[in-house]
């Protein structure tokens, strides 16, 4: 059963990584224009990502 000492932390770390990635994408406003992002790939002009959410602004 010693393998559990490895596997349980691994699951938790993987889960936390996913959670962290989600929080990061939320902060970077990746969900504010889902329709637009799906279309953007079709056009080849350079576009800059949105600046991250600034609390003093919003």
């Amino acid at each position: 059963m010693t393998i559990l000492h490895l596997l349980i932390p691994v699951t938790l770390v993987m889960g936390l990584t996913g959670l962290g990635a989600f929080f990061w994408s939320l902060r970077n406003r990746q969900y504010e224009d889902l329709e637009g992002d799906a279309e953007r790939i079709l056009y080849d002009n350079d576009d800059t990502p949105m600046p991250p959410r600034k609390d003093e602004l919003r």
């Binding site: 504010e32 329709e35 002009n45």
Partner: protein, 725 residues
């Protein structure tokens, strides 16, 4: 990349524009391409979902004006969104907080469930105990973080001695946690950490969807054209014109109101004459001529000529602001409405708490083991946690509202759907709601010299009545000399050397040889017979069908109008509406609605004007077209963006079907409890059974709600019979 080229300057300003014409990815690409290279623009990003453009400007001077001009050029006119609206949107960050909580509790549910499955499939002794311990370490902080919404809401309700659905939820979650911690420390066999976390996860999804629905409706509203005047032209004592903010207007200030603008405050005219469209203020359909000395309410639209006027009251005491204040009072009366979920909670919560207590007492008497008794009683409270009940309403409402939004009807909040489903009477405003506000000629014009001349004069005026005469009679334009428009009176010109006038009858009569009876504007050549053009209002698309469909659905119609009786009677006759009241003030409308509620009627008010604002807020439920005043839209529960009135029966159909679905969902939740509660009381509920039963009932409720999306209602001919059954 652009951001690298531009060194960050000391000045940077973020602005948000709304551009309703953004419809596809190529619009986005076009806007970004053309704006990105403009001087003074640091960053630009168009948002297709919200139809907005986020800009960062790097220069103080006219960069913004250039951007607006450029947008106009490429066919996507944009408008600056008021910063007050944006901050109101951003201030409510509950939506993001809820989404974070959903993610956190999802993470927790996944991991705790993983450990629980191991325990259920046979982990024992030290392994089981350590799994319980790890589950507890994960679950405890996560539930405290994610379920805080329920604890706060439940505490708020209890403190005011109220009962809502969050009270049993908060109780079940916290008891499940406490019991599990106790059992873990004791080395017990059964813990409910997984139940606490998955419950939180499911319930938060419902809560998040509910908030998102409201947020979407609100950002769609921000995009609508605004009517409130935010700035005005001041005439300084030296005679120069300068722009002042509407808030800065003080009584006695002289203002210039150009044609085509609305009056910012209550005014008295000091020079000039014009016609005013007061339809949004009083409901009158015909433009009103005003001259020096007349007093005008805020919100009237100046149609023909510029005028100077002295401000009588500051903005906050003007007619517009007064009706907003009336609105605040009226909304209090509606806050007494208790949502169906909370009504259910008032019955349900005491019942299950009683059952839980009875179970405890019963087991204590039967076995004398208080620990066992407490364990069974708490497991009763956990399985009766109204997860399905709490999802029953929001999921159905979210599905229905996204359905309606796709059809161009915005809903403010879920309770509006509940109230609409129970409406018993339709009350209509006339001008701007049943009619589309623009007049047409009652009879078509034949080609006579008089008609040709009248149409020629009419073509030279911007007055709506003149425009409808010009549109109705497409005669070859005659040469006109000495053409002059007299604001407030009409148009004058010399045709074939004869003086001719088109406009107010009394003014035309000054040159006409013979008077003519009738109504509508008049036309005459000097010394000749006068001719009248009777006018009629055009009904909005689908008005007749909407009234008929509503009548078939059990909602008789009635008109409450601020307009004169003959105009109201004409529209009522066309629509076969028997109950009409004309010449009403805003207070009269409110009084009539209160009278209806006193007779146990639940009126649905449909209106658009400032004079309807208080009535919209007083009515059981209300709708207004997107063309309504800002105040009207703010007061209404539903705002429809489509032109036709078929939106009203459509919304009613969806609301009634939603109500039916909510009832079915309650039925499912009760059926679940009928099975789960006896099992729990008998002490047979293990964490595994609780997990299966609770998620099973939640999934059943969500699946049932999704059916609302599946069956189609043909938008043109809604079949209300099945919904009404």
């Amino acid at each position: 990349m652009r951001t690298d080229q531009l060194a960050p300057s000391a000045y940077e300003q973020d602005v948000v524009l709304t551009a309703p014409t953004i419809r596809c990815g190529s619009c986005v690409a076009k806007i970004e391409r053309s704006l990105a290279d403009m001087p003074g623009v640091a960053r630009v990003r168009a948002n297709l979902t919200l139809r907005r453009i986020n800009l960062t400007l790097a220069q103080t001077d006219d960069a913004l004006q250039n951007v607006l001009d450029e947008l106009e050029n490429i066919g996507h006119p944009g408008r600056l969104i008021d910063s007050a609206d944006l901050s109101a949107e951003a201030k409510d960050d509950t939506e993001v907080a809820l989404l974070k909580a959903v993610a956190v509790s999802g993470f927790g549910a996944m991991n705790v469930m993983l450990l629980s499955v191991a325990v259920w499939s046979g982990a024992s002794d030290a392994t089981r105990d350590s799994f319980h311990l790890i589950s507890g370490i994960i679950a405890l902080p996560i539930v405290i973080y994610a379920a805080r919404f329920f604890f706060i809401s439940a505490w708020g309700a209890l403190r005011r001695a109220h009962m809502n659905m969050d009270v049993p939820i908060a109780l079940a979650i916290s008891l499940a946690l406490a019991l599990s911690v106790f059992e873990t420390l004791r080395g017990g066999e059964e813990v409910f950490f997984d139940a606490a976390v998955t419950l939180t996860f499911f319930l938060l999804i419902g809560r998040y969807l509910d908030y998102r629905m409201r947020g979407k409706a609100r950002s769609a509203m921000t995009g609508l054209q605004r009517l409130a005047v935010r700035e005005a032209w001041e005439v300084t004592p030296e005679g120069a014109l300068c722009v002042v903010a509407a808030d800065a207007i003080y009584p006695g200030m002289v203002l210039r109101i150009p044609a085509g603008e609305r009056t910012p405050v209550d005014l008295r005219i000091t020079s000039g004459a014009s016609d005013l469209d007061r339809s949004l203020v009083t409901g009158e359909s015909a433009p009103v001529a005003v001259a020096v000395g007349d007093e005008v309410e805020a919100g009237a639209l100046n149609l023909t000529g510029p005028m100077d006027a002295v401000a009588l009251r500051p903005v906050e005491e003007s007619f517009l602001a007064m009706s907003m204040r009336m609105l605040a009072g009226a909304e209090e009366s509606r806050s007494t409405y208790v949502r169906i979920a909370d009504r259910a909670a008032q019955l349900y919560a005491p019942l299950i708490h009683l059952i839980g207590f009875a179970t405890f007492v019963g087991w204590l008497l039967a076995t004398g083991d208080w620990q066992r008794a407490a364990f069974v009683a708490i497991s009763v409270l956990i399985v009766t946690c109204p997860c399905a009940l709490a999802l029953a309403v929001p999921v159905a409402h979210v599905v229905a509202s996204s359905r309606l939004m796709a059809e161009g009807v915005l809903i403010k909040d879920g309770s509006a759907l509940e109230r609409l489903a129970t409406a018993t009477r339709a009350v209509w405003d006339k001008t701007g709601t049943l009619t589309d506000g623009s007049p047409v000629l009652a009879e078509s014009l034949d080609a006579s010299p008089d008609n040709d001349a009248a149409a020629t004069l009419a073509a030279h005026s911007a007055h709506p009545v003149a425009r409808c005469i010009a549109a109705a009679h497409r005669a070859p334009a005659l040469p006109v000399e000495e053409l002059r428009e007299h604001p407030g009176f009409g148009v004058e010109g010399r045709i074939d050397g004869r003086l001719a006038r088109l406009g107010r009858p009394s003014w035309v009569a000054e040159i006409a040889g013979e008077m003519a009876e009738g109504d509508g504007p008049a036309f005459a050549f000097a010394g000749a017979q006068m001719q009248r053009f009777p006018l009629r209002e055009t009904l909005r698309d689908g008005a007749a069908e909407a009234v008929t469909t509503l009548r078939d659905a059990g909602l008789p119609s009635e008109i409450l109008s601020g307009d004169a009786a003959p105009a109201v009677a004409r529209v009522a006759a066309q629509l076969e509406i028997e109950e009409t009241r004309a010449g009403l003030t805003p207070q009269d409308k409110v009084a009539r609605l209160q009278e209806l509620s006193a007779q146990d009627e639940r009126p649905l008010m449909v209106g658009d004007g400032l004079n309807d604002t208080a009535a919209l807020a007083t009515a059981h439920v209300s709708m207004s077209p997107a063309s309504a005043t800002e105040a009207g839209r703010a007061a209404a529960d539903f705002v429809f963006l489509r032109e036709g009135l078929d939106a009203v029966p459509l919304a009613l159909t969806v609301a009634r079907r939603t109500a039916a679905t909510v009832r079915q969902n309650f039925g499912l939740a009760i059926a679940y409890n009928c099975i789960a509660v006896p099992l729990a009381i008998a002490g047979h509920v293990t964490p595994l059974i609780a997990a299966i039963a609770m998620s099973g009932s939640s999934i059943a409720v969500v699946a049932n709600s999704l059916r609302l999306n599946r069956r189609r209602v043909a938008p043109a001919t809604p079949r209300l019979r099945e919904a009404a059954a």
